[in-house]
Symmetry: C2
């Protein structure tokens, strides 16, 4: 089988886990990595996540498939620097927001480009966080696919199917609104819970009592500030709207407790239970 050259720009959890997952489907891949963090480059080589690392975008531009697993602002910056791509080259970005990316990709490479958002991750980062089943059975949202070339659409669909992801198609605008509710607002909430507890005088003795519920609610408050600053930047208006909707609900709860409207509170909790009929 001919070797497929895969370039991975951004050697962290997402890029590293993709390499592991692809290596499990076939041995015909050759992985070329690029990352401005030199420690991540040497770790990725040691862990066998890439076959070689390069220093410039030109050296990775000859790959059949180029994966962008870097923060969203980085994706936008780097997409402006590609020159002379082969018409068969497929670039897939894994950014968590999609509208701005989908709209600012330079016209000359827009058909090479596929805007994807694999709905998966952990709070860990760096190549050593890479795991083999990060993508297995998870959803990947493919956005504005009509803007990608037919070849590129097929390459992306095959790649995500091969690593056993469930494909969902959506326009980028709709994706960003949904992602604000399902992912970005919950991150803001988790950071706020962590900070609310840390501000208490007795933070240490409070945290000593933590059980599974608190650990779950604060887990994603471990996430990388650089990555999430970027996502909040890119999805500002949808995020603010989702935070507003959340605050409306929490204020309702607060009022019912203040006014001791226990029956209404019980109904409100029972409504929340219904989420799990569709989750």
């Amino acid at each position: 089988m001919a070797t497929t050259k895969i370039g991975i720009i951004g050697l962290g959890l997402m890029g590293g886990s993709l390499s592991i997952a692809l290596q499990e489907t076939s041995d015909s891949f050759y992985f070329i990595g690029l990352d401005h963090n030199k420690r991540h480059c040497s770790e990725a080589l040691e862990l066998g996540l890439v076959n070689e690392v390069v220093l410039t975008l030109d050296e990775i531009s000859q790959c059949d498939i180029i994966i962008l697993t870097i923060p969203v602002n980085g994706i936008i910056n780097i997409s402006k620097q590609f020159k002379d791509l082969d018409p068969k080259c497929t670039i897939i970005d894994f950014g968590s927001t999609k509208e701005k990316i989908s709209n600012v990709i330079p016209k000359k490479i827009r058909e090479n480009f596929v805007a994807a958002h694999p709905m998966t991750g952990t709070e860990k980062f760096g190549p050593s966080a890479a795991i083999s089943d990060l993508y297995t059975d998870k959803v990947v949202v493919l956005c504005d696919m009509e803007k990608s070339g037919e070849h590129q659409q097929n390459v992306a669909k095959k790649l995500f199917s091969d690593i056993k992801m469930q494909l969902v198609f959506m326009d980028a605008k709709e994706h960003d609104r949904h992602a604000a509710f399902i992912s970005h607002m919950p991150h803001a909430v988790s950071y706020a819970i962590a900070n609310a507890v840390m501000k208490q005088e007795e933070a240490t003795s409070i945290v000593a009592l933590a059980a599974g519920g608190f650990k779950d609610m604060s887990r994603i408050a471990k996430s990388s500030p650089n990555m999430w600053e970027d996502i909040f930047k890119q999805n500002k208006s949808n995020l603010l709207e989702a935070i507003d909707s959340f605050q409306d609900e929490l204020k309702k709860c607060q009022k019912m407790v203040e006014k001791e409207e226990w029956e209404t509170l019980n109904n409100w909790m029972a409504e929340a239970n219904t989420l799990h009929d569709i989750l």
Copy 2:
């Protein structure tokens, strides 16, 4: 070895899991169950969680140890109905709030009584939710122990140590304030996240994108409204204070996003990361 009779009032997740855990430490226990839910009684018998079920408090009052694994208002009500307890009888309540319980237990049985809060649980309920390791390596908070008899203190300490819990001693007032931050406020937040999403027109397609982060943040929104109504009632002022602290933090986040103060936002997220140095 002489048989120790253990009465369990409330045959659900907590009571059922306790029976399994105790049966793993010794075969000298005889379990007597009481629950107004007849289906739970027959399920608990079928699952071997209890040896027999009884219908009245009198029939369970002869036990050596009586465990109250019912909602907090139920604990308060039932504690007023005990008559003529043996001075060696130990009653342990597992309620999630402690100050009101600790203060309203009738004087004549106060020494029989131990106010405990095992910091564990799942979002599931009923006897079929019982699991063997619910208590293993978890924290149990024992409150106002100086109000319990010496015998009762020793019985409770032995019981929780036998099922491998980590014992923490605290006054009931302090417990309730801590529990509001570590457990009760996060529950209100999780219910609010679930309701914010369910109120959206496209709730189903939003939820279709859910990954681990959202699942974690909404898991405890599955919890029983009856149980949580009761806890919110009992711990009203601490809960409202914890919600206020949380809202202060979320409002900070909201303002930083609105005003595009990205560096300050990044620092705020990095502060939240520090929770995990002590968790």
